[in-house]
């Protein structure tokens, strides 16, 4: 549940514990929704911080994948005004000039002329230009985090979007080290990050999961058993870009893992969570091959099948058996006494229960007989 996750992040670290850490994992099939989940969590946490309900005084967003404006606009749409944003949100902009190319070019153009500073820092956006230097990134983050005003201990929360982009510039151990250091930093209240699982070997997202106390996986709503982009799969693709599953694993202090599940979907330019899981998914995951004719039975067909009278069974209602023996038409056979029930009854080999009057009561065996049973399956034929 997204609310449960945001609550954990909002409540922050307990005494004597490291900060809670959330890993959000997405994949290409539902990447807009994973991005949306990340934006939602950041905005929700920022709202809690602005309202004074969180342990942290502010949120630092380390932005690699998106322009800082995207976060700010999203938060504005969620009701955070400019004042609250200035007070509670700082963005370390690793998106605009991660390697310092723009600054290098500016320096070459304006030799020593500082009249035009490149991308003057706005109030809450700080451009960061050395993404390969993880140590410097750590200190820049903590510096930003320490700058929030407020009373009490100077806690702040950190969001990293995304680890996958960081991994292009630095190694897994160095980034794991960064996250561990942030988690154990005395001023960090909570931390969450995004990783795109299909951009890396499987062990990489798992390594980062080990550092987390909560894992939220954004998975496609429909899994198509036949991979490919034939026209038949267009509807599945379409659905997976507007709806996804949000699966959360919360690790408790006592070691127990709690699983929570929600649907998430895009509505306009916002993202919403729905706690009632959809049921229709099962239909598409049946093992029936996708062909142009119907291989399944409808309800009416099922009940009709159950009502079919098998030719050699007793109807069980005491009336003479109507069995067509191929020699005469049936109405004639009825008048011919030699062919009516008593004669036929005498021929039955194994009467199921006998009474003094010689009546035969046949009880049909259960339909699902075990194979290799000792009973002869022809016993219930009335030949």
């Amino acid at each position: 549940m997204a609310e449960a996750v945001v609550r954990c992040l909002r409540d922050g670290r307990l005494d004597g514990e490291h900060a809670p850490a959330l890993a959000v994992e997405g994949s290409l099939q539902c990447c807009p929704l994973a991005a949306g989940a990340m934006l939602h969590i950041a905005a929700a946490l920022a709202s809690q911080v602005a309202a004074g309900k969180a342990q942290a005084r502010g949120l630092v967003v380390v932005a690699f994948d998106r322009s800082p404006q995207v976060y700010l606009e999203f938060m504005r749409r969620r009701g955070l005004d400019a004042n609250a944003l200035d007070r509670c949100v700082r963005i370390l902009d690793c998106y605009s000039d991660p390697l310092g190319w723009k600054q290098k070019s500016q320096n070459q153009q304006h030799q020593g002329n500082s009249a035009k500073h490149f991308s003057t820092n706005k109030e809450n956006i700080t451009v960061y230009r050395s993404v390969k230097d993880v140590t410097k990134l750590m200190s820049s983050t903590t510096e930003l985090g320490g700058g929030f005003e407020g009373e009490g201990k100077k806690y702040f929360s950190v969001a990293v979007d995304s680890i996958s982009s960081m991994l292009r510039h630095a190694s897994v151990p160095s980034i794991s080290g960064l996250l561990s250091n942030l988690r154990s930093h005395e001023q960090v209240s909570s931390i969450f990050w995004m990783i795109h699982s299909d951009l890396h070997e499987p062990k990489v997202p798992r390594a980062f999961e080990c550092l987390s106390t909560m894992v939220a996986c954004v998975e496609p709503a429909l899994v198509d058993p036949i991979c490919g982009e034939s026209p038949g799969n267009m509807s599945i693709l379409e659905l997976n870009y507007s709806k996804a599953k949000f699966i959360v694993r919360l690790k408790r202090r006592n070691g127990r893992v709690k699983h929570l599940y929600e649907d998430l979907y895009i509505e306009g330019n916002d993202i919403k969570f729905d706690s009632a899981p959809s049921v229709s998914i099962e239909v598409n995951q049946s093992l029936v091959p996708k062909v142009q004719f119907n291989l399944e039975l409808s309800e009416k067909e099922r009940s009709d099948r159950a009502n079919v009278v098998l030719p050699f069974e007793h109807q069980g209602n005491g009336e003479p058996i109507r069995i067509y023996d191929g020699r005469r038409s049936l109405p004639e056979a009825q008048r011919d006494l030699s062919l009516t029930a008593p004669a036929l009854v005498d021929e039955i080999k194994a009467p199921k229960s006998g009474t003094a009057k010689g009546e035969i009561h046949y009880f049909r065996d259960s339909d699902d007989e075990q194979p290799d049973s000792d009973e002869d399956p022809d016993d219930d034929l009335d030949i």
Partner: protein, 249 residues
């Protein structure tokens, strides 16, 4: 991209807010015609463009676009089209030099975009790259350098109101485990246009199928917009026809 009077299925599928367009193609269904079409439209709507050509020389595109009714030589003379002929682009032997070459190339593009934006008739600017697979070749296989360069181009789209169109050959990456460059591009794209052959084989009237996936980032205000499109195409000398399967007579 603004809504030009394209009026065809491709314009409808692309919508108006896509900033990063990735075109995927394969040997059986080359996607260069999409680049030609998008370039023509970019220039037709009084916009400007920067074309990074690694696959063909200028004369090739000039000839092709002329038949489509677009005079590239004229646009180039008027400085509406900035053509980078990168056939001889040397990434350099040492790692440092590859990055430096990309930095220089990026800086030139950025200067053009800024100049366009600051100019009197600020118009829509489009950066077209033909193609990303060849960028990897000139970078001597260094995917990271290519991704850094593409990231900076991508950052331009949000800062400077320009559009990025990149062509990549999907079948080159079909066997690789990681699919490196292709997957990264699919992630950053707002719109993925994929050209593929028909599953039924070659045909005279239909040259292939085009699938358009509009990921619909949170920039767009439209609710319930269709995100996935699939239709057929036929490439002609003077343009391309797009139609739904079975609607051709």
């Amino acid at each position: 991209m603004e809504e030009y009077g394209g009026g065809d299925l491709l314009s409808e599928a692309m919508g108006s807010a896509a900033r990063v367009v990735v075109v995927e193609d394969c040997v059986e269904a080359p996607g260069a015609f999409v680049l030609h079409l998008l370039l023509k439209r970019a220039l037709a709507s009084c916009g400007a463009a920067a074309f990074l050509a690694l696959a063909q020389p200028f004369s090739h595109y000039d000839r092709v676009l002329r038949k489509m009714g677009c005079n590239l030589s004229l646009h180039r003379r008027n400085e509406r089209l900035h053509f980078f002929e990168l056939l001889g682009f040397r990434g350099g032997a040492r790692e440092g030099t590859i990055a430096d070459s990309f930095v220089r190339l990026y800086n030139e593009i950025q200067r053009l975009v800024e100049a366009n934006r600051a100019g009197e008739n600020a118009s829509q600017f489009t950066v077209v790259i033909d193609d990303a697979s060849l960028l990897e070749v000139v970078a001597l296989g260094s995917v990271n350098d290519v991704l850094n360069f593409l990231h900076y181009c991508f950052a331009l789209t949000s800062e400077m109101n320009c559009t990025l169109v990149v062509l990549i050959h999907e079948d080159i990456y079909a066997d690789e485990e990681k699919m490196g460059l292709l997957l990264h591009l699919r992630y950053i794209a707002d719109l993925v246009i994929k050209a593929a052959p028909l599953s039924t084989g070659l045909a005279a009237d239909v040259h292939g199928q085009l699938s358009v996936v509009n990921k619909g980032t949170f920039r767009e205000q439209k609710a319930k917009a269709q995100k996935v499109w699939n239709f057929h195409f036929k490439v002609k000398e003077n343009g391309t026809d797009f139609f739904y399967p079975g609607t051709r007579h």
